[in-house]
């Protein structure tokens, strides 16, 4: 297994470098950065000044390696707009996004796992159909729209929760619910199909023949095997949720990394945009690795392979 991990790690590093390069190229897409920073009313002199100040007059490959070198040390430069170090900005906002993501995942698992198991046990009954319908609805729902609806219903009409901002834990409730909606359908379907397959397997028949209790058969024998791919996917889903949080943070004005990204894009704050893309991509890569690791740990058949 060690060999397998080492190979995954090498690929992960290569991918990280690729994304680094891509995100560098991303901001250079719009052509002359100096003009964008200077704004529409700047004179030629101003533009030249800016070009020199930000080191944009150096050859492209020099800029690239300079940035790469610094990025590897965690130095993402200064934000054009916020006038502080980019790294610090991200560090400040990250806990909020992380909390949101983890809460979203937690809610998603609490809903998807029991429903998936229930649907599998009652396969092809109306219970199963209803659960599948819930999955369909969740998949079709635009997250920002759901967020707005919840705002109107729970925030305004019922007055239960605050509409926006980051104050207390209550501010996280609606955004987490909306975020979880994106993960629930796939997690639920995966749990359901995994359980159906597990319950139809020969070892479940053996467990029944041994006279084990229903609960033991369902959870200890059935779910233990069905859970393996679910856990692995959950790690990946967390990544998607962190990526998708940009929309939800913006709707609910939660000052996380996603909101930061949106602000920076609107203000052409390139260092921040570059850094956020990179950080998110690194988190994705890390979570995918974690998912592979979890798979290997949970499935004894892979461990000695």
């Amino acid at each position: 297994m060690l060999h397998f991990l080492r190979r995954r790690l090498t690929v992960a590093i290569l991918v990280a470098l690729t994304v680094l390069t891509l995100s560098f190229m991303l901001t250079r897409l719009s052509g002359d950065l100096a003009i964008s920073i200077a704004g529409p009313n700047a004179s030629q002199e101003d533009i030249e000044l800016i070009r020199r100040a930000y080191g944009l007059d150096r050859p492209l490959w020099v800029q690239y390696f300079d940035w790469l070198w610094r990025a590897l040390q965690g130095d993402f430069g200064d934000s054009y707009f916020f006038k502080t170090r980019v790294a610090r900005l991200i560090m400040e906002r990250m806990p909020i996004t992380m909390t949101l993501g983890l809460c979203g995942l937690f809610i998603a698992l609490c809903v998807a796992l029991p429903l998936g198991i229930l649907a599998a046990v009652k396969e092809n009954t109306w219970v199963d159909r209803s659960v599948l319908m819930v999955a369909l609805i969740g998949q079709a729902m635009p997250s920002f729209w759901l967020g707005l609806i919840l705002m109107v219903v729970l925030g305004l009409n019922l007055g239960w929760l605050p509409i926006s901002g980051t104050g207390s834990w209550e501010h996280y409730v609606m955004p987490s619910i909306v975020l979880s909606f994106s993960a629930i359908p796939s997690l639920m379907r995966l749990t359901r199909s995994g359980m159906i397959e597990a319950l139809a397997s020969d070892y479940i028949r053996t467990a029944r023949a041994k006279g084990l209790s229903r609960l033991s058969i369902l959870v200890k024998h059935g779910f233990r095997n069905a859970a393996i791919p679910v856990v692995a996917i959950a790690a990946v889903q967390l990544g998607f949720m962190l990526g998708g949080s940009i929309v939800i943070e913006t709707v609910f004005a939660l000052h996380g990394v996603g909101y930061l990204a949106w602000e920076s894009i609107s203000k052409n704050d390139f260092p921040v945009v570059q850094a956020v893309v990179l950080v998110l991509a690194l988190i994705y890569i890390g979570l995918t690795l974690l998912s592979d690791l979890l798979n290997a740990v949970l499935d004894p058949r892979l461990r000695s392979a």
Binding site: S201, D202, Y203, R205, T206, A207, R208, A209, K210, G211, L212, S213, R214, S216, H221, R224, N225, I228, L298, D299, P300, R301, S304
Partner: protein, 321 residues
């Protein structure tokens, strides 16, 4: 004294199809009763029905279904699950897939004892070691900590047998236990089962399609065809004087060294096993039988044709093939 397992007129249906159409047999303590038939004749379904392990949609009815004198026909899942693994145990055909890949051999074995007897872990482990040794597995301590995929097919089947014996059952139902194994391993497993029966006084219901196995281990044989037992007899008697044309056909298919002449075709039974529609009356074998007559389309009575020997056929004695 009642037999260990008594089945009388067992019927199993799945939706509209009748898989088992009224079979009767008994298994005595210390006896091996073989249920023989081709695939699809309903023998596996019979064993599952006895254990109460039918798949969803399966319905079971019987005039009599008793285990050690208890009528288990109306036992709900809870009561049946207390019997299963404890006093009646079952082993299956595919040792490869019948063990849970996520748990060690040891944990899968000890959980049976802990479930039924509440035995503390340490003692359950001791018992598991004892049984693994009994079934001929070396280094049992090592095996307990291994996962199923680390064992070979023969080893896995031995583990299944040991696991079935954890609570010292009275009845062991073995559904084609050697079909998925190599021939040499087959012989070992059969020998093991015979020894265990002698030592523990087990009653064994052995399901198989292999007449060679029947000849080797069975005390009594029931031959099944299309959901019914068409002949049953003590083993020697069945091989000596088979009465039902199907049984005769089966026996003629098996080449016996010394008896078969060279350059002569092996026996075979023309036709295929039919699907039985509901409301079917008469002998299911009549389309393939060389002796069929008009009377075969009516209900066939069970006839006594020898010492403890019954057949479901109207053929008189002495009819030649």
């Amino acid at each position: 004294m009642s037999a260990l397992l008594e089945i009388d007129d067992l019927r199993v249906t799945f939706g509209g199809t009748a898989a088992v159409r009224g079979i009767s047999l008994t298994v005595e303590k210390g006896e091996t009763h073989c249920l023989v038939g081709e695939s699809g004749c309903g023998k596996s379904v019979t064993s599952l029905a006895v254990m109460g392990l039918l798949a969803k949609g399966g319905k079971r009815e019987a005039a009599r279904l008793s285990f050690a004198g208890e009528d288990i026909r109306d036992y709900d899942e809870k009561r049946m699950s207390r019997l299963r693994g404890d006093r009646m145990a079952m082993i299956f055909q595919e040792p490869m897939t019948s063990l849970n890949p996520a748990y060690t051999v040891g944990s899968q074995m000890t959980e049976v004892l802990r479930r039924h007897r509440g035995t503390p872990r340490a003692q359950a482990v001791d018992r598991a070691v004892e049984l693994l040794t009994r079934v001929g597995i070396t280094a049992p301590g090592l095996r307990l900590g291994q996962f199923p995929h680390q064992l070979s097919g023969g080893l896995r089947q031995r583990v299944m047998i040991a696991m079935a014996l954890m609570c010292d059952p009275e009845l062991l139902i073995a559904d084609e236990p050697t079909t998925a194994l190599d021939v040499t391993v087959q012989a070992q497993i059969l020998r093991l089962l015979a020894e265990l029966q002698k030592d523990l006084g087990l009653g064994i219901l052995l399901i198989t399609h292999d007449l060679g196995i029947v000849a080797r281990v069975a005390d009594r044989v029931s031959v099944m065809y299309a959901g019914k037992v068409v002949e049953s007899a003590p083993t020697a008697e069945l091989f000596r004087a088979p009465r039902h044309p199907y049984t005769r056909g089966l026996l003629s298919c098996v080449p016996v060294p010394g008896k078969v002449k060279r350059d002569e075709p092996l026996g075979s039974i023309p036709g295929v096993v039919p699907r039985i529609p509901p409301g079917f009356i008469g002998c299911a074998f009549r389309d393939r039988c060389g002796f069929a007559e008009a009377a075969c389309a009516a209900d066939i009575p069970r006839r006594n044709v020898g010492p403890a020997h019954e057949a479901l056929c109207i053929l008189p004695e002495g009819a030649r093939a």
